[in-house]
């Protein structure tokens, strides 16, 4: 089977991989790189659990070929913050009770991150639109919207 060499930035680090062209970005992250923070909820672009940032913009990694990462920058939830230093969004999600089962959380955080990167004072409507590709069956969204609003006002924690 043919393989392709790709190089890209993953969570700020340079990466080189030799992959099969059929490999999905989601599977490369989860299976080849062990970054299981990115989830598979539907595999068809409907739920947003697989959301990663592609050059800063949210995409569904379940509908992207891994080869398309070549020359680009990918951010997953693992690149958002660390045990010692959480991203303000992560802290706000904890504080506001925006996390229940947590399966939607990584994708939700990344969609929110993309929003806050270009808009540091979003309205409720802007937040709702930014997370409209991420389904959450637990929280009812209210606390998620609150958390994102709060994070927008927080300094780095």
């Amino acid at each position: 089977m043919n393989t392709i060499n790709i190089s890209f930035k993953l969570n700020g680090k340079d990466m080189k991989m030799e992959i099969k062209p059929q490999l999905l970005l989601l599977d490369m992250l989860r299976e080849e790189l062990g970054l299981t923070g990115t989830k598979n909820g539907c595999g068809e672009g409907d739920c947003g659990a697989c959301t990663v940032l592609f050059d800063g913009k949210p995409i569904c990694s379940c509908l992207a070929l891994a080869v398309n990462a070549d020359g680009h920058e990918i951010t997953t939830v693992e690149g958002l913050g660390s045990e010692e230093k959480l991203d303000p969004l992560q802290q706000a999600f904890i504080d506001e009770g925006a996390v229940q089962c947590g399966f939607c959380t990584p994708g939700m955080l990344l969609s929110a991150k993309a929003l806050l990167n270009k808009n540091n004072d979003p309205s409720d409507a802007e937040i709702k639109r930014a997370i409209s590709g991420n389904l959450c069956r637990c929280t009812g969204y209210t606390k998620i919207v609150k958390a994102i609003k709060k994070a927008a006002k927080m300094k780095e924690v």
Partner: protein, 288 residues
Amino acid sequence: MDFVYHNPRNLEQLFNIVNGTGNCTLFAGGTDLLVKMKKKLIEPENIVDLKGIDDLKGIVPEGEFLNIKPLVTHDEIENSEIIKKKAYVIAEAAAQVGSPQIRNMGTVGGNIGNASPAADIVPALLVLDAKVEMQSIQGQEEKELLSVFKGPGQLSIKKGQVISNIKARVLAEQEGAAFMKSGQRKALAISVINGAVWLKVNGNKIEDVRIALGAVAPTPIRLFDVEKWLIGREANEDVFKKAGEMAKEVVKPIDDIRSSAEYRKTVSAAIVYNGLKTALQRIGGLSQ
């Protein structure tokens, strides 16, 4: 999934691949293709990724047309200053496609190429009198956008051809347009029905009009009869209402998993009426 992956860097390489290789499937954002491939509805032998070809990217104004290259994403359309100014109805449609993720991946070329009767960008393009340029090793061919749809999922495109450009007429003075969509929910919903309207007035007379609807027939359609009836009439609520009623009679939608024919007819009328009204308001012709 089992396919050979091709990654041409320019049109020449692309044409060499599509002419020298067996069955080729052009691959843009992949949001339609990968869903079908995962469900094994299609099993392409050769995937030809277009994303490495810079000639297929960008938005370039040219006289009274805008050249929108096929790899332009919905997100790029929605945020393009020139489109927001000169062809805002396309931005309005793009803003209502899927979700932020899908808008960042899906392309206008793919939206046409997929030939779905419910494609959201298509009605907006149709009312801007859009043409599609198809390029192949033999050269270039320009077609009316409406003429490229043969049926659900069926595009009139020759082997070896690629959609290389979409030309949309810019909005001029005394012209207004609107796009409307009705889905089962507000986000991430394929249109149950969608439509767009373009209107040109002279004083309070309708000088010209184009109306397009999606998901009411096997392909997106133009309502030529309604348009003909409207031309020369006064641009007012009553006339618009009548046009909506006429639309309801001329469309022949079907019952399917997303909706009933009856509902689609009713909403057709509403889209035509509201579309005309909004387009006129945008020209500045109708208060409120």
